[in-house]
């Protein structure tokens, strides 16, 4: 059922518009939803982040890594152990009109679409183009978000020569795919190449030893290597890859998990267990900055609304605010009991998502979500959530809602 936004939003001032309009008046509206995967039982909970109320729960086949698209219309639940990828329509859609965006809010909906395959792993989305990697298969699959929302994903594939734990980055007519280690495909990939969907290689292969971790920011996409980053840009729609080496001034180490800034074009990655590295590719070798953490890192996230800041959660139960300009931890807040990074990599530990003015942190041991005000950096609320709330993504934002 269509839910027109009610006047609980931050700017719910009715504005009369011209008589030629189909609508009687407009309202500013804000809506945020959280999607939380449970590690104890295979479910995804959908939560109204404003009301802190459960909207729905969807059964899955196994524990899921969650990925939201840049539009926020779709969340994908990658269930690697069960060989399945499920899709959820978040119910929140924006229609961009340049100077403003309209927001439509419907009930969320588990879509009747499921990809099955051998060990689905890395998921990458850019501008509505999606690449789903399967570690156990020798081709990556590509489709559009629109085709998923329309119920009929049109799958294209690109051959990757040998099954391996790699990644594909989707573009309209091309993809960038990792290159398997020719001596042992179970080892990390050795590089990346541009391919099209007719089986052709475009340009030269680019070395990227120990490739692992990828992220997009602005017009760039980056792949992390032991030697630096591969930076992918596009010229006339065709991806081009350039290697950006770690400068000699950095200590030994490399990133294997990357995130991209939203609103600012930068990348942030792990650099050993207790450091982060902030990378501004526009500054070349001068663009690398290390952030020292007080203990080992558990999780980190960028803030899409306050682009100057990122957040990192550490083993001692603290959430830290990172100024990406200075590379300093500007504020710290104890939220949970300690979480050790020893043990299985996939043990449930806190994860971070930013939903409007709230930083939301899952606390699987305490079976709750913590809500931290992003501006005051104080905990403002908690929400009990049974099970082991683990992976989390947030979708939503503000827009104009047209009323009849």
């Amino acid at each position: 059922m269509k839910k027109r936004i009610l006047a609980r939003s931050i700017a719910a001032l009715a504005v009369a518009i011209g008589s030629t309009s189909a609508y009687a008046h407009d309202e500013g509206a804000t809506e945020w939803r959280l999607f939380v995967a449970d590690q104890a039982s295979p479910t995804v909970s959908v939560i109204d982040a404003t009301e802190k109320a459960l909207i729905d729960t969807y059964e899955l086949s196994g524990p899921a890594a969650l990925h939201r698209t840049s539009s926020g219309q779709t969340v994908f639940a990658v269930q690697g152990s069960q060989g399945r990828v499920s899709a959820i329509n978040t119910g929140i859609a924006f229609h961009d009109h340049g100077d403003h965006a309209d927001i439509d809010v419907d009930a969320p909906e588990r879509l009747d679409i499921e990809l099955t395959g051998e060990r689905p792993a890395h998921f990458v989305e850019q501008q509505g183009y999606i690449a789903q990697w399967f570690d156990g298969e020798d081709e990556a699959r590509f489709f559009t978000e629109n085709s998923v929302l329309e119920g009929q994903p049109e799958i294209r594939t690109a051959n990757i020569e040998a099954a391996h734990h790699g990644v594909a980055v989707p573009y309209q007519h091309h993809a960038v795919v990792s290159i398997a280690n020719p001596d042992d495909a179970s080892q990390r990939p050795i590089g990346a190449r541009v391919v099209d969907f007719e089986g052709n290689h475009v340009g030269e292969d680019v070395a990227c030893p120990g490739l692992h971790g990828s992220a997009g920011s602005g017009s760039l996409y980056a792949l992390a290597c032991q030697t630096g980053l591969l930076i992918i840009s596009t010229q006339d729609g065709t991806p081009e890859i350039e290697h950006l080496a770690y400068p000699a001034s950095l200590p030994e180490g490399s990133a294997s998990t990357l995130l991209g800034g939203k609103g600012l074009q930068y990348f942030i990655g792990n650099f050993g267990p207790d450091r982060l590295v902030i990378i501004d590719p526009s500054q070349g070798e001068e663009g690398f900055q290390l952030v020292q953490l007080p203990t080992r890192r558990v999780h980190f996230a960028t803030d899409p609304i306050r682009p100057r800041f990122a957040y990192v959660f550490t083993e001692d139960g603290q959430l830290h605010k990172v100024d990406v300009l200075s590379g300093e931890l500007t504020q710290s807040l104890r939220l949970t009991g300690p979480y050790s990074m020893d043990g299985h990599w996939n043990d449930p530990r806190p994860r971070i998502a930013v939903a409007g003015d709230n930083i939301v942190v899952t606390d699987p041991a305490a079976e709750k979500l913590h809500f931290v005000d992003a501006n005051s950096f104080e905990e403002v609320d908690e929400m009990p959530l049974e099970g082991k709330p683990f992976n989390i993504v947030a979708v939503g934002g503000s827009g104009v809602s047209h009323h009849d």
């Binding site: 340049g98 100077d99 501008q127 602005g218 760039l220 800034g261 501004d280 070349g284 663009g287 682009p307």
Partner: protein, 312 residues
């Protein structure tokens, strides 16, 4: 690092200003940030060696689509003056200013210029083959008429004088000199284009960046509007546009330096029209290109138009 520098549109520090600043180490430079390359050139013309100038969006780059970097934020944080076009041209500006915490003077250079309403309420940009609608009630590409460029430089001179009274006479002298250059440029453009017959005054460009040029100099530019904002440009969309072109005496199709030429090349092929070259719309070229300054850009565009539109 060649591609990185070209693609990532890094901050371009005026080497002239740097060297001059070093020579006058006792005199603090006015720290100026220009939002994109055309404004950077205007600021250089007026500020000369009295300013330390940084540009955010570099040559051959699309300001509409730009994503600022941490280095941009730092530059704005340290600036005395930030020069912007306004009219929603710099979509990144609000978050850049907010992230910087800057208290610099923000000078909108289109203030007091003759501004055209956008009859379609916006215009299209292209990412690959995808048309993206940029809605704005007023057309931001005001620099494409030289008379408006005069307003830009007048606003810059006033802003520099207000912030650096000791340098005001130098700024005003520079403005006087450059204003004469612009007046001569305007006369040259009118004289050259007057040679085109009415039947050779219509062309196709990738996006509607040339309405001010059209309005000032009597040419007509069509752009592939009407295409879906939600999806890729389809063959049916292009076919519809081509039907329109054949009825409007279009003489040539032009690419733009800031975007892919793939779509306009497709239009030219299907409409059996010649590609007339590349026009510089929303950004200058690099120093080695044909349009490294505003004056060079306008002269290059006119030469390109004349070459393609002059009857054989």
């Amino acid at each position: 690092m060649g591609l990185l520098r070209a693609v990532f549109t890094p901050l371009l520090v005026s080497m002239a200003a740097l060297s001059a600043g070093a020579a006058r180490a006792n005199e603090p430079a006015l720290k100026v940030v220009a939002s994109f390359s055309i404004i950077e050139d205007f600021a250089n013309q007026i500020g000369g060696d009295r300013i330390a100038l940084t540009s955010i969006v570099g040559p051959d780059s699309d300001t509409h689509m730009y994503e600022p970097t941490p280095a941009d934020v730092k530059a704005v944080a340290q600036a005395d003056i930030v020069l912007i076009n306004g009219l929603m041209f710099e979509g990144f500006l609000a978050r850049l200013i907010e992230a910087s915490g800057s208290d610099a003077e923000i000078i909108t250079l289109t203030d007091n210029a003759e501004i055209l309403q956008d009859p379609q309420g916006g215009h299209y940009h292209f990412i690959g083959d995808k048309a993206v609608f940029h809605a704005a009630p007023e057309d931001p590409h005001a620099w494409q008429s030289v008379s408006n460029a005069q307003v830009y430089v007048s606003n810059i001179a006033q802003a520099f004088c207000a912030a650096d009274t000791a340098g005001c006479s130098a700024y005003e002298a520079n403005q006087q000199r450059y204003s004469a250059t612009l007046a001569a440029l305007d006369d040259d453009i009118r004289e050259q284009l007057s040679a085109l017959p009415e039947s050779r005054r219509t062309a196709v460009v990738a996006h509607h960046a040339f309405r001010y040029f059209e309005n000032a100099y009597g040419l007509t530019f069509l752009a592939p509007q009407g295409m879906s904002t939600e999806s890729e440009a389809s063959a049916a969309n292009v076919a519809g546009l081509i039907d329109d072109l054949q009825a409007q005496q279009v003489s040539a199709v032009f690419a733009e330096n800031i975007s892919s030429s793939r779509l306009v090349e497709q239009i030219a092929t299907e409409a059996e029209l010649p590609m007339g070259g590349t026009l510089y719309s929303d950004a200058l070229s690099g120093a080695a290109g044909p349009a490294p300054t505003y004056e060079a850009m306008m002269r290059y565009n006119v030469a390109t138009l004349m070459s393609a539109l002059t009857p054989p």
